[in-house]
């Protein structure tokens, strides 16, 4: 798709560009597929009465000499157009009044393009708050462009800007900037010009006071831990009631469909295939929304950059940068929102590494499997007077996942994702109040995007899994109890046959064919393991897994049970994660790679555990 008549928003990072774009245009549309980019270029519309114009939002940049994929894309679009985005007809240069020097530096390069421009001067309230004056008339004289002072999050000055965007006479080619031999000359020009147009009398005391706490060697770490604890608590616990509601809603829908449709294949497809598949997508929404709200607020208020500064050293041990911390912590609740939030990482290689190890973090879907096996096979002993053996093993599994992930990251960063264009380098933005409207637009955009691009893949894959377990059909007489009917159907199905066929592969790690089917079946989602095992062993797990626990205790050898645990620590048993990896990396290559390397880890670890235990 090529956009032919559009203007672009260009500005330095944190200049208020996204806020301005969101309040001006509302909903947006993605342009092309740019998996490596932190802010996907998107298109919105501004209209007054009969006229309307398409606006392109591009990633922020400091300079036209790109130092990241983000900057490279913006640069390419502006200089000559990109295969999927034509060169814009006009540029709205978003100039941050509180950081005018950096803005002017970039401006001097963009002005060389000779494209008609308009200047939106943001953060003018920030200058006033520090008893400063920004001389917008001087900027007009200097640049030869129309300058519109605005306060993005409050909507001040937006109407005038909006009118101007639609009027040809407001668009001018900028005065030719001086030619610069060296970076130093350009820096000096922007510094001198900044001093001429901006006077700020007072330092930003709010920011320096907050920083003296939030970046304090001890206070900084304490507040970091506190903020991260709330962040984790919110996705791990606060999302649960909503997820339960969605799950019970969809299972009642499933029941309703089974009761009201004529029994048979069709009702099974609708209920167990389609409704269950859609439900398994919707159920991710609470965590996705909560996590994104948190990440956007942290980013917009300016804390994210500080958090990255604080943990950069720790993440650096494993070859990553500070910003990888949040996606990985989020993945402890669920890898789906975790992987989505990896967009906050500007370095492409770090971002790929982070996404590829995110599924190793112990997500909450592993918990039902862990508790089932641990409560069935590990005696409730107390060790060292205080610790319950069950709890110690559970905690061990949690730590093992994260630790292995970081070690894998280390290896990846030493090999396939070696090096970085630049190490950690960041300009701390002042602390600012986020805009609610912009937050709403960004988060609902992410949620819709998940439903559209990953959700469809997940539903399709769920239907395939349903097909494999529902075909070929068996003739089952009604006299047999329902649970046994399901058991027989599953055994006979393609999934069952496949399980039996590949069982020899899993024999060395102590899985019989039933465990193998359980593992295969749980590919829909790890927590499905419990209900698949229930079906296989003819145990009713609708209300509790107590009867399944007893059956398992009697039928599975101890070593095999431990082997299952070991396998689940590492295996990528989740089609939804693969769906989101495809979405975020732009190809099936990476989910396939993640699946294979995690399978090798899982198989190897299970093999060792099984060998030791038996």
């Amino acid at each position: 798709m090529t956009i032919n008549s559009h203007i672009a928003f260009v500005g330095t990072p944190n200049c208020g560009k996204t806020t301005l774009f969101n309040v001006l245009t509302g909903m947006r549309k993605k342009v092309g597929n740019f998996p490596g980019i932190t802010i996907e270029p998107s298109l919105g519309n501004v209209s007054t009465g009969e006229k309307s114009i398409a606006i392109l939002d591009l990633p922020g940049l400091y300079s036209m000499l790109a130092a990241s994929l983000d900057e490279e894309l913006t640069m390419q679009v502006l200089q000559k157009g990109h295969p999927s985005i034509a060169q814009p007809h006009g540029i709205v240069f978003v100039m941050d009044a509180t950081n005018i020097e950096k803005s002017l530096y970039l401006y001097s390069q963009v002005a060389e393009l000779g494209i008609p421009m308009i200047i939106a001067l943001t953060m003018v309230d920030g200058v006033k708050a520090r008893s400063g004056v920004i001389d917008d008339i001087a900027i007009e004289r200097l640049t030869g462009l129309s300058v519109f002072p605005i306060v993005g999050h409050k909507g001040i000055g937006l109407d005038a800007l909006k009118q101007a965007l639609l009027q040809d006479r407001e668009w001018n080619i900028p005065n030719a900037p001086p030619t610069f031999e060296e970076i130093r000359d350009r820096v000096h020009w922007s510094r001198n010009t900044a001093d001429a147009v901006l006077t700020i009398k007072e330092p930003d005391t709010v920011t320096s006071r907050l920083d003296s706490i939030l970046l304090h060697p001890i206070g900084g770490i304490l507040s970091f831990v506190f903020i991260m604890a709330i962040f984790f608590q919110s996705i791990f616990s606060w999302a649960i009631p909503f997820m339960d509601l969605i799950e019970s809603g969809f299972s009642s829908l499933e029941q309703l469909a089974l009761q009201h449709l004529p029994p048979g294949l069709f009702s099974d497809l609708i209920a167990r295939g389609l409704i269950a598949g859609v439900g398994s997508v919707i159920v991710f929404l609470p965590q996705i929304i909560i996590l994104n709200v948190f990440v956007v607020i942290l980013e917009d208020c300016g804390y994210l950059a500080r958090a990255a500064f604080l943990v950069d050293r720790f993440m650096g041990i494993f070859g990553l940068q500070g910003r990888s911390f949040i996606p990985l912590l989020g993945s402890y609740a669920c890898a789906i929102p975790g992987i989505m939030s990896a967009r906050i990482i500007p370095s492409h290689r770090d971002r790929m590494t982070t996404m590829l190890i995110a599924p190793l973090m112990t997500c909450s879907a592993r918990l039902p499997v862990y508790t089932l096996i641990i409560s069935a096979f590990i005696p409730p002993m107390i060790i060292g007077r205080f610790f319950s053996l069950q709890a110690v093993i559970l905690a061990g599994l949690y730590i093992l996942g994260g630790l292995t992930g970081l070690l894998v990251a280390f290896v990846m960063k030493k090999s396939m994702f070696k090096g970085d264009v630049i190490p950690f380098l960041i300009e701390f933005p002042p602390y600012r109040l986020p805009s609610l409207k912009s937050l709403f637009v960004t988060v609902s955009d992410k949620a819709l995007d998940f439903l559209k691009s990953a959700g469809t893949v997940i539903v399709a894959l769920s239907l395939v899994l349903w097909f494999l377990s529902a075909f070929p059909r068996m003739e089952i007489t009604d006299s047999i109890p329902e649970i046994q009917q399901q058991q027989m159907q599953l055994e006979q199905s393609y999934a069952g046959q496949m399980g039996k066929a590949i069982a020899p592969v899993f024999a060395p790690i102590g899985f019989d064919w039933k465990l193998t089917i359980g593992v295969l079946g749980s590919f829909a989602a790890r927590e499905v393991f419990v209900s698949v095992m229930g079906q296989l062993y003819g145990a009713d797990t609708t209300n509790s897994d107590a009867s399944l626990r007893e059956t398992l205790q009697q039928t599975i050898p101890f070593a095999s049970a431990l082997s299952v645990l070991a396998f689940y620590v590492y295996a990528l048993q989740c089609i939804s994660t693969m769906g989101i990896l495809k979405r975020e990396t732009g190809s099936w290559k990476w989910p396939a790679f993640a699946f294979v390397y995690m399978f090798i880890l899982a198989y190897g670890f299970a093999y060792i555990v099984h060998a030791i235990a038996s």
Partner: protein, 78 residues
């Protein structure tokens, strides 16, 4: 006195950047941010456990990881 790194000087030190060597993209970006040889700056803080440093000069505050890919020479003033 010329020091090889920013690692050894105490927080609050004012110094002049004398030269940057190594990773060209990193150095170019530092330069573009106004951190050029001759710049007088102050070391504001260091992240815990020897992490990145934050420096201020003019109206700018930047934080970066002075990793092995660059050598930073400075001249300590106070």
């Amino acid at each position: 006195m010329i020091l090889e790194t920013l690692r050894n000087i105490p927080i609050g030190t004012t110094a002049i950047l004398t030269s940057l060597e190594g990773n060209p993209v990193f150095i170019r970006r530092l330069n573009e941010m106004g951190f050029l040889p001759g710049t007088k700056f102050r070391l504001l803080r260091r992240a815990p456990f020897g992490g990145p440093v934050e420096v201020s000069y003019g109206h700018t505050r930047i934080a970066f990881r002075p990793d092995a890919s660059v050598t930073i020479h400075i001249h300590v003033l106070s």
